[in-house]
């Protein structure tokens, strides 16, 4: 590793105060209506260069260089322990929340280093949202407050009328509005699993991120709810850059445009990116034998 490989430790005390450059912060407006997000803005590119990820002494991911392209769904696939989720979590600086975790290499959002010394990780996580495997609405909060939660944290004081608009727009964007519009005041935990996951997606898009990361977003859902989320992902890509980790290869083939296959040579070794390409190519004529073995289900 050269200079770019300098170890990135936990952000120093000054980092919390710093902001990303104006090109990024300009999307952070107090009024959601004033942001360019809702008006056909261009999605952004996430670019990873020679990324190494560690948990203490253990290296989980080695030398990953790949681009998550705008307005496309990029699926990260690979067997358990191959580092795909760790890599996903490095894309919005969540990896470093683990004690002793380190990041080497560079990750940039439209050319801007998200691990730069003056960059606020909280701001990164607002721009690069995450949806988790298990739907995790705030259990005591109402449906409305769940969606507005990120807004309250990120945007300071927001007028009620503006908040109403954002909540409705986000719930509509997550294909949930019609199902919950008459129960906005009821607890989010009362919804079905698939509805809860769409609520979490609504919460993620309420703060109008640039990128949506999804970590196995459907693995806790039944097939109908899964297909609803996949349809939603297909729609969201017109506005966002999306990366999704999935164990379900049919989901990767159905829902993604680009597929990245991660693998590790043996247990204890770091995961590496084996092959990345158009999903159609990965599932019809992959370049590498390891990819072929994995997608055809011949690796355990």
């Amino acid at each position: 590793m050269g200079a770019a490989g300098a170890t990135r430790a936990e952000p120093g005390p000054e980092a919390g105060k710093a902001e990303m450059k104006p090109s990024v912060t300009e999307t952070q407006a107090t009024s959601p209506e004033a942001t360019p997000v809702a008006k056909g803005r261009a999605a952004k590119t996430l670019d990873a260069q020679e990324v190494n990820l560690f948990y203490g002494d253990f290296q989980a991911v080695e030398g990953v260089t790949m681009t998550v392209e705008p307005n496309k769904v990029t699926a990260l696939i690979g067997s358990s322990g191959c580092g795909k989720t760790t890599f996903l979590r490095s894309l919005n600086r969540m990896h470093e929340l683990n004690a002793g975790a380190r990041v080497e290499g560079s990750i940039s959002l439209d050319g801007q280093d998200i691990y730069g010394p003056r960059v606020d990780p909280v701001q990164v996580r607002r721009l690069v949202g995450m949806v988790f495997q298990q739907p995790n609405p705030f259990p005591t909060m109402s449906v409305y407050d769940n969606v507005a939660a990120g807004l309250n944290l990120n945007a300071g004081r927001v007028k009620k009328s503006e908040k109403d608009e954002v909540v409705e727009r986000s719930l509509r964007g997550a294909h949930l509005w019609n199902e919950v519009k008459d129960r906005l005041g009821k607890p989010g935990s009362g919804l079905s699993g698939g509805q809860q996951q769409r609520l979490c997606i609504a919460r993620a898009i309420a703060v109008e991120p640039e990128v949506l990361l999804m970590d196995e977003p459907c693995s806790a859902l039944d097939p109908v709810a899964t297909l609803a989320i996949e349809d939603l992902i297909g729609e969201l890509k017109s506005k966002y850059t999306i990366a999704i980790v999935t164990h379900n290869m049919q989901q990767a083939s159905r829902a993604s445009d680009i597929t990245a296959f991660f693998n590790l040579e043996e247990t204890g070794k770091p995961g590496r990116l084996v092959e990345i390409g158009p999903t159609e190519k990965i599932f019809t004529s992959p370049e590498k034998q390891a990819t072929e073995d994995y997608v055809s289900g011949r690796f355990g």
Binding site: F283, T284, S285, T291, E292, V295, S296, R298, F299, G300
Partner: protein, 228 residues
């Protein structure tokens, strides 16, 4: 490790490939009988070939259905998907080859009970048929061995069939003014044409071999753009 999982799926896929390609053996046998029937003007043997085509059609239906089931239940991808796609094509080619044998056999009663009007033309057709059989077995070997070079060589082998077909056409033109002889020659030309199509189907199978191996489908020769 590769090969240690999805064992039954792999066995089923292997079985279906063998069964589909086994259809080429059925076609080869049908073509042998067809040529024998042509040589001896054997109407009864020709009827056997026509009736026996049900076996080739049955193979087509059986393997086709089983491949659709694999597609529906096993979500094949990558090489497996290309193989299944290719087998679906190849099955159709085999079924068409069987039909061409039937086409030839249905002509035999029309050629009458008189000795052939032109022995040379009969010989040419028999030579074409033998060459077509070579193509059938070469197509099978190239598929089984995933041998793109052998598959590509089918084009060269097929050129020989095409040349013999043109030679038949020339003989038919020169057969004279006698109406019966002309009718006989026209009928035999239809038979030659059917055998020529069997060669084309073998070349198509070769193209599927290249698709399975490379993932790219390209016609070895484009009849509509021969100079391209």
């Amino acid at each position: 490790m590769p090969g240690t999982v999805r064992v039954e799926y792999q066995e089923e896929l292997d079985r279906l490939e063998a069964s589909a390609l086994g259809g080429l053996d059925l076609v080869s046998a049908a073509l042998s009988r067809t040529l024998e029937a042509v040589e001896h003007q054997d109407v009864e043997l020709a009827q056997v070939v026509v009736a026996d085509d049900d076996r080739i059609d049955g193979r087509y239906l059986e393997v086709h259905q089983a491949l659709i089931t694999l597609l529906a239940t096993q979500s094949p991808v990558a090489t497996d998907l290309r193989l299944i796609s290719a087998l679906l094509h190849v099955l159709k080619n085999i079924e068409r080859m069987g039909d061409q044998c039937v086409n030839v056999c249905k002509l035999i009663p029309l050629t009458g009970n008189q000795p052939p009007s032109d022995q040379e033309m009969v010989k040419l057709i028999l030579t074409m048929g033998a060459q077509a059989k070579t193509l059938i077995s070469q197509a099978k070997r190239s598929f089984e061995g995933r041998d793109v070079e052998l598959a590509r060589d089918l084009v060269r082998q097929d050129d020989a069939v095409d040349n013999l077909n043109r030679e038949c056409f020339r003989l038919a033109l020169e057969i004279g003014d006698d109406a019966d002889r002309r009718e006989w020659a026209m009928t035999m030309l239809l038979g030659a044409r059917a055998i020529e199509r069997i060669g084309d189907n073998a070349v198509d199978i070769g193209e599927q071999v290249a698709f399975v191996v490379t993932g790219l489908f390209r016609e070895f020769e484009d009849a509509s753009h021969p100079m391209g």
